[in-house]
């Protein structure tokens, strides 16, 4: 099991907040690093996969948590 390098808490932020926060965190990271993104923006359900596709990073997990917030696990590729 790979270890999460960093958690990006973007709860409460709206589009494009979570993605910008994620992109910023990824900027200084190494290829292969794992990131956990926490968000409450319902738009992130479609936006995070789209972002991964455009940016060439890998979305490993996407789930809805008990408090109706969202959790994503992303591997830095690009």
């Amino acid at each position: 099991m790979d270890v999460i390098t960093r958690t990006v808490d973007a709860k409460g932020q709206s589009c494009p907040g979570p993605l910008v926060a994620l992109a910023r965190a990824l900027k200084d990271a190494r290829t292969g690093d794992l990131f956990e993104l926490l968000a409450t923006d319902p738009g992130s359900r479609s936006d995070v996969p789209s972002w991964a596709e455009i940016s060439g990073n890998e979305l490993l997990e996407a789930e809805v948590l008990d408090d109706d917030s969202f959790r994503y696990v992303i591997r830095k590729v690009a």
Partner: protein
């Protein structure tokens, strides 16, 4: 025997020459093709709040997605990148009037509908705060930070009497239409953000017979 051999080789040589010619033609054609980059170019023509907002959201999202991103500010879009503290711009009364009608900076941008003397934008910004949506002026700063190229149009700057010092910091050198076209030419996505069309309830002057 020998006749058959010639008839067999002859079409082969001509087809080879023909093939070479075709390859050359294709190569020439290909060299004219434009290679599109993973890039977004927006022509920010509209400077109203409801135009500059999507412009800055898309530009920052593109940059955050690893795309090249550039915004070319022209006409009313230019007023969105005037420094907030700059009040009146221009050298003559026409340019000055234009600047009074279009208060500079994204902070002071009007709504193209439901402006209600400023109540509309105030409401919008309150909603944005409540929903933690960044405002256009914050997004412009963010765009700068993320490496979005913000480029003013030289011609409209001259036309509206805007000086480089009137505009916010972090912009690229002003460019012309050809350079703007070059920016759009190799961008996989290029957009022109304009003003809304006149509503049906307010027909254009010509339609009213004026």
């Amino acid at each position: 025997m020998s006749t058959t051999a010639t008839t067999e080789t002859e079409p082969e040589t001509t087809s080879l020459a023909d093939l070479l010619q075709r390859v050359e033609a294709l190569e020439a054609e290909r060299s004219k093709q434009i290679k599109k980059k993973n890039k977004l170019t927006i022509i920010a023509w509209g400077g109203n709040l409801d135009q500059i907002w999507p412009t800055t959201i898309l530009a920052t999202t593109a940059a955050a997605s690893g795309m090249e991103s550039s915004v070319f500010f022209t006409f009313w879009g230019l007023f969105a990148i005037v420094k907030p503290e700059v009040r009146i711009t221009g050298d003559n009364w026409m340019q000055k009037m234009m600047s009074v009608m279009n208060p500079g900076s994204a902070q002071k941008a009007k709504l193209s509908r439901y402006h209600f003397g400023g109540a509309g934008p105030a409401m919008f910004k309150k909603l944005a705060r409540d929903h933690q949506v960044a405002t256009p002026d914050e997004l412009i700063a963010l765009a700068n930070d993320l490496g979005v190229r913000l480029i003013p149009c030289q011609m409209t700057m001259d036309l509206l009497g805007l000086k480089r010092d009137d505009l916010i910091d972090g912009l690229e050198e002003p460019i012309g239409a050809a350079t703007a076209l070059a920016e759009m030419r190799d961008a996989a996505v290029s957009l022109f953000i304009s003003r809304r069309r006149r509503s049906a309830s307010r027909p254009a002057l010509a339609e009213r017979g004026c």
